[in-house]
């Protein structure tokens, strides 16, 4: 892998100095780890000025026992140049709020709800952050590493009982 910083990285460093904490291009996937506090502005900059108009995926990874524990991973794509970029934000357990990107990408509405549901990371500014894949009475966030796979939740009964 070359040590050359790629153009988006340089542009972000120029506009938002000190916001890129780390970067790599392992296996050809260009990745940036950015400051959570300025994540919305950086993603908006990538969307408006660099043509990354498709949010391919938004997901969370739990890196327990490392601190910061959670990483929110955005996969972006520029459809005209066919460039892909991965942007990661690190977020810890006590203050896991991250800015919502729903104004930029409508699909982020559901993707962020899923990350909240599975990982327990809150997104500030989200219009309606409620569970997506699991039912309302479910306790816990199953994709966290300390949630066992075979945990049994109490069964819910029919709604009229």
């Amino acid at each position: 892998m070359s040590d050359q910083k790629f153009p988006e990285h340089l542009a972000i460093e120029k506009k938002f100095p000190g916001s890129v904490f780390d970067w790599h291009a392992q296996h050809g996937d260009r990745t940036l780890i950015i400051d959570a506090a300025r994540s919305f502005d950086i993603l908006k900059f990538l969307h408006d000025d660099h043509g990354y108009n498709v949010l391919v995926d938004l997901t969370g990874v739990d890196y327990l026992p490392r601190k910061p524990r959670f990483e929110i991973v955005y996969h972006l794509m520029n459809l005209s140049t066919k460039a892909r970029l991965r942007v990661k934000i690190q977020s810890d357990e006590l203050h896991p709020e991250v800015a919502s990107v729903t104004p930029l990408f409508p699909i982020a509405n559901w993707l962020e709800r899923e990350v909240w549901d599975m990982m327990g990371v809150k997104f500030s500014g989200h219009p309606d952050l409620k569970r997506l894949l699991l039912y309302e009475g479910f306790e816990g966030h199953p994709l966290r590493k300390d949630y066992p796979l075979q945990h049994r939740q109490p069964r819910i009964g029919p709604k009229d009982q």
Partner: protein, 172 residues
């Protein structure tokens, strides 16, 4: 005293319960008749959730043809169907609805657990899958497979038909 099923010996002018009752074994035959009618005109409610639905579709279509056993027409209202085919994984979220659907069906009703997930949870031993629908509703036939081949589905259907035939239909 004459036994019931012996013919009368006095010329046949008075009422003879033995002769009259000779044809009263009709009840058993009626049972069989009703069983025969019910098993060959099953209306299914396909509660399809997952991958087994693909094999359900294959069984219902021309290659394997469930219609030759009389079980072609799905009735998409539980009130109008006899057999509840639970096809695919039942998650905790949909379990109360399954119970609702089962409760809405009118007797006589049967339940077929189609596939490994409906029978016992299948490969999904986790926080969100019900480990077999018999935890929620009574099941008559379990069809194993992931997903079961259409031949296995037809085998399950034939066993269900045998079950229906041999069940007492007319309650006293």
């Amino acid at each position: 005293m004459r036994k019931f099923n012996q013919p009368s010996t006095n010329g046949g002018h008075q009422f003879d319960p033995g002769a009259a009752l000779h044809g009263q074994i009709m009840t058993t035959q009626f049972d069989k008749l009703l069983g025969w009618a019910r098993k060959y005109s099953l209306f299914q409610y396909p509660f399809v959730t997952a991958c087994c639905g693909m094999e359900f579709m294959s069984t219902a279509c021309s290659h394997y043809d469930i219609d030759r056993f009389g079980a072609a027409f799905p009735r998409f209202s539980p009130r109008q169907s006899d057999v509840l085919w639970v096809v695919g994984t039942v998650s905790q979220k949909i379990a109360p609805l399954l119970k609702n659907v089962y409760d809405q069906m009118a007797a006589p009703k049967w339940v077929v657990a189609f596939g490994a997930c409906a029978s016992c949870g299948g490969p999904y031993d986790d926080y969100s899958t019900v480990q077999g629908i018999d935890l929620i509703i009574p099941v008559d036939i379990y069809i194993a497979g992931c997903p079961p081949r259409p031949e296995a589905v037809l085998d399950g259907l034939l066993k269900l038909q045998e079950l229906i035939q041999n069940t007492r239909q007319v309650t006293p």
